[in-house]
């Protein structure tokens, strides 16, 4: 119990007055000589118990009544636990940040955390001061309700909030709430964050804030144990099979024993295993699944683990698309007896390694002289390394226009004029001259910002210091100005284009300014060489790159390169769909808010690709936020909150009852 005027409460010690007066009264009782004392004694024996009880009751009533007066004047109150902070009843402008992210689907008892959060939000709206106005912001970035005094509208908006698969971004939500409060009518402005306050929702840097932020933790400090599939990778196994890797995390404080893991392909369970996971441990479970090589269509792969309080992350989907075999013809422009000196030594080695790994590349070699005898219809990609021109390029042109891919690299055999005459119109840019590095200092390569699949799949590796930056180019072919339809992918440190691509007919031509052996540069001995060459060949061959991401994360942007289409429609797992225009052959899809498989279709309805969006692994980790960068979280009380309950009204009533009781008992 607390008091507004505690000094007055000290007078409650007067509670001892009635007993003292009683005792003093006994000592000062009037003495009477009386003859019939024996009858008094008998009478007293009869009424003694009742009399003593009455005395005690009277003394107690009087003592309590006396004590009640100073306590009443001291204005007592108690603090009782509350689901909401005490500030909620104030007159204010308030914005409620309601977390409807995936982690709020965590089930606690018979309700989800979102159900509880909505209930808290509704209570909050109900309890706001009579002239308060309030708004609503969703922590997943959804709909916003501006400040309004219309409680019904706000209550309806809260009721309409649905659980999502989206990740939490409380800091952004708080920032949006503060924007709403900028034009608030009240001086008291508060942001109420109703969330599970998991650490993943409060990561990042919080901007300083002037407003009061109240955090309401709907987990009520209950354990947040969760098991989740945080990744599902499906790769092509050498020979055409499927290699599945399921990453499972135990975000609990307790170990999980014999956790069932089920793999389904096309809706049919094909494998099942049991794993043990220690607390806070992650584990990778691999499966190999045979796939009918005759079938080329995309299939859905689904991984499942046993149920827990957050069921949404117990299932994860991926898309498996059997890779199309790419047939590559390597044309050796400078064959040598010594294998290491051969122009194709590095190129052939790189592609054969890739072919060995997944079996979807078929590599064979030829020379310029024998090129005319090759049936290009049986080839998907032609790589011409340091070829001496002129050559007959008619077949080559037809090959490209029909959809073939052509990779051209240069070397000591290059004759700029002859090359331009032979197939300069095929190249992304005509050749100008052969140059050495300026000042004798070798030049390096750099990746240009682009949405090309090559950049998307290998962007991080290429941009790494050990990637293109490590390549030293001592001699190269200087291109003339690239054609308008050409795309510059790599550039030399001098600024000259290094790798150019151009679409010709249904095919594409890629020109690299230097050699694919070590004569003019050291690219072939750099770690990036092997994946780069493989990607280039797969890209030109139109097959699955093997690295093209067919999975993404709900709430994040997903990009996919699509050939031969400008406009597609995307069908959500829930069957709703929307049409998108492609930018330079790229679909940028950032509206994925469901977990599952999305279908990309041409306007004609033909499915051209599919991808799966999974839940952000961060959302599965429900560990509570620590005192990090959340705005004012350091000073915040996460509850249970306390609310003052004034007692003096009840005490006043009690005093009246005490006085009434005293009067009644006295008269009896």
């Amino acid at each position: 119990m607390h008091f507004l005027a505690p000094a007055l409460a000290l007078f409650a010690v007067l509670v001892v007055a009635p007993p003292i007066i009683h005792l003093i009264g006994r000592q000062h009782a009037e003495r009477r000589r009386f003859a019939a004392v024996v009858f008094l004694r008998r009478a007293l024996e009869r009424v003694a118990r009742r009399h003593r009880l009455k005395q005690i009751v009277l003394i107690a009533l009087r003592a309590l009544a006396i004590a009640a007066v100073p306590l009443l004047l001291a204005k007592p109150f108690v603090e009782r636990p509350s689901q909401l902070p005490a500030s909620s009843a104030a007159s204010q402008s308030a914005v409620i940040v309601l977390d409807n992210s995936l982690s709020m689907s965590f089930r606690s008892g018979s309700e989800t955390l979102l159900d509880r959060a909505k209930a808290r939000a509704s209570e909050l709206v109900h309890e706001l001061g009579p002239d308060a106005d309030a708004g609503l912001v969703l922590a997943t970035g959804g709909r916003t309700v501006a400040l309004t005094a219309d409680r019904k509208q706000l209550a309806k908006a809260i009721r309409d909030v649905r659980a999502t698969f989206l990740p939490t971004d409380l800091l952004s939500a708080v920032a949006r709430a503060e924007e709403l409060l900028q034009h608030a009518s009240h001086l008291q402005r508060r942001v109420y964050v109703i969330s599970d306050l998991a650490a993943h929702g409060l990561s990042g840097h919080a901007a300083p804030t002037e407003n009061n932020i109240e955090y309401i933790d709907v987990t009520e400090a209950a354990p947040r144990n969760n098991l989740a599939i945080i990744d599902l990778r499906v790769d092509v196994e050498n020979g055409g099979g499927m290699a599945v890797a399921i990453e499972i995390a135990n975000f609990s404080d307790a170990a999980a024993k014999q956790l069932p893991v089920t793999l389904k392909v096309a809706g049919k369970a094909v494998a099942r295993a049991f794993i043990d996971l220690d607390a806070h441990e992650k584990s990778l479970k691999r499966f190999k699944v045979e796939v009918d090589s005759g079938k080329q269509e995309t299939v859905a792969v689904e991984a499942q683990i046993g149920a827990d309080a957050l069921k949404e992350d117990n299932t994860r989907l991926a898309v498996f698309s059997p890779s199309r075999r790419v047939r590559v013809l390597l044309v050796d422009g400078d064959p040598r007896d010594a294998r290491r000196a051969d122009e194709l030594f590095y190129l052939q080695a790189a592609l054969q390694e890739a072919a060995r790994v997944d079996g979807t590349l078929q590599v064979r070699t030829s020379t310029v002289d024998r090129l005319s005898s090759v049936d290009l219809a049986q080839v998907d990609v032609v790589a011409m390394a340091n070829v001496k021109y002129p050559i007959d390029s008619v077949e080559l042109r037809l090959f490209v226009e029909r959809g073939g891919g052509l990779l051209v690299s240069f070397g000591d055999n290059v004759d700029v004029e002859a090359a331009n005459q032979s197939f300069g119109d095929l190249l992304p840019a005509e050749l100008q001259a052969v140059r050495g590095a300026e000042g004798g200092r070798p030049e390096s390569l750099a990746l240009l910002p682009t949405q090309h699949p090559l950049a998307i799949s290998l962007g991080a590796e290429l941009a790494d210091k050990s990637g293109l930056g490590a390549v030293q180019v001592s001699r190269y072919v200087l291109f003339r100005a690239p054609r308008k339809d050409a795309v510059e992918l790599f550039r030399l440190s001098s600024g000259a284009p290094a790798l150019l691509e151009r679409r010709v007919g249904k095919g594409r031509v890629l020109a690299y300014c230097s050699t694919l052996d070590r004569d003019w540069n050291d690219l072939p001995i750099q770690p990036i060489f092997l994946p780069l060459i493989e990607q280039i060949v797969r890209s030109l061959g139109g097959g699955d790159s093997g690295e093209t991401p067919r999975t993404g994360i709900v709430g994040r942007s997903y990009e996919v390169a699509l050939a031969d289409v400008d406009r597609v429609s995307v069908a959500w797992p829930s069957s709703r769909s929307k049409t998108f225009n492609l930018q330079k052959g790229m679909l940028q899809f950032s509206e994925g808010d469901e977990a599952g498989i999305y279908q990309i279709k041409k306007v004609t309805g033909e499915t051209v690709a599919a991808f799966a969006l999974g839940i952000s692994p961060d959302e599965s980790d429900l560990k509570p936020a620590t005192l990090t960068s959340a705005p004012k979280l350091e000073a915040a009380s996460l509850g249970p909150f306390k609310r003052s309950v004034e007692l003096w009204h009840a005490l006043g009533a009690a005093l009246l009852l005490l006085l009434l009781g005293e009067a009644i008992v006295t008269r009896r």
Binding site: R26, A29, E30, F34, A35, F39, L40, A43
Partner: protein, 304 residues
């Protein structure tokens, strides 16, 4: 209305002379009675009384009937041979005085008045004063100096000690050789705790007295305070006989106390009735004149 009716006990107590007080009371009592209260079958004619049903026909005065055409009964002065013993309880509890005179004073006044009357009738009057012991004894006599002797003893009485009525009655049973009237004046405190066995002893004694043709009358004298417990405020009550103390809130205890005292009075009333003993409850605030008158007109007439 006679002037004696206005003599209340307080006014009487202010009459210091006990003899004067006795005479005043007796005259007051007699004023309310027929002039000659003692009637019997003596040979000396006393008066006429108008006949009323129940009177013996043999005493009808036919001559008077001839004169007045009404029936008159002839009544005669009786020759008295009565001895009266007045047993006065002088224990400490008899000294209690509320607003009226003390109970001992009340007993003293009643005794004096009755003794005065009886001696006037040539009866013999004796006195026994007792507490737990016999404090004084005056043998019954009818001679002229007996009244003064008795009054002198009454005036010197002091309320001390406990009460032992049985001892006093035992003594009287031994000394009273002829038919006597034994009058007990006591608050009967001290024997209030008597159990049935002890009461049986007292009852046996009373029956013995009755068997000896004695008549017994008991005046239980109680103060109004003792009957009603009118006090208020927590008080420390000191017992007058035992000296013990008791802290009591009279307001809280009054009802239970009255039940106890009523039960006490009723039990003696019933027991004396069973023992053929005349019983009178006298409040010390009662007018002695009324008390004496009632006694003279009732029990004493029957005894004679």
């Amino acid at each position: 209305m006679r002037s004696f009716e206005f003599l209340d006990p307080t006014a009487l107590s202010k009459l210091g002379n006990l003899e004067l007080r006795a005479r005043t009371i007796v005259e007051g009592a007699l004023a309310g009675l027929h002039r000659s209260p003692h009637h019997g079958s003596s040979v000396e004619f006393a008066e006429h009384k108008e006949y009323s049903p129940g009177d013996e026909i043999k005493f009808i005065d036919w001559k008077a009937y001839g004169k007045f055409d009404k029936y008159y009964i002839k009544r005669f002065e009786e020759e008295t041979e009565l001895s009266a013993y007045f047993l006065i309880d002088s224990s400490a509890s008899m000294g209690y005085a509320g607003k009226a005179a003390s109970k001992l004073d009340c007993a003293r006044t009643i005794t004096a008045a009755l003794a005065y009357f009886l001696l006037k009738q040539q009866d013999q009057v004796g006195l026994v004063v007792f507490d737990e012991k016999l404090r004084a004894y005056l043998p019954p006599r009818a001679r002229g100096g007996q009244l003064h002797e008795l009054l002198r003893k009454l005036e010197t009485l002091q309320a001390i000690g406990r009460s032992d009525l049985e001892r006093a009655l035992t003594y009287v049973s031994e000394v009273a050789k002829r038919r006597s009237l034994i009058v007990v004046l006591s608050d009967l405190f001290g024997s209030e705790q008597a159990d049935e066995k002890e009461w049986q002893g007292l009852r046996h004694l009373l029956l013995s007295l009755r068997a000896m043709k004695h008549d017994v009358a008991v005046f239980q004298i109680l103060d109004d305070d003792e009957l009603t417990l009118p006090f208020s405020g927590t008080s420390l009550f000191e017992a007058m006989e035992e000296g013990s103390e008791l802290l009591v809130d009279p307001d809280e205890t009054r009802r239970a106390y009255r039940r106890e005292i009523d039960r006490f009075v009723a039990s003696y009333q019933q027991r004396f009735a069973e023992g053929d003993v005349e019983y009178h409850l006298v409040r010390s605030s009662d007018s002695p004149i009324d008390v004496v008158r009632d006694f003279l007109s009732g029990p004493l007439r029957r005894i004679r």
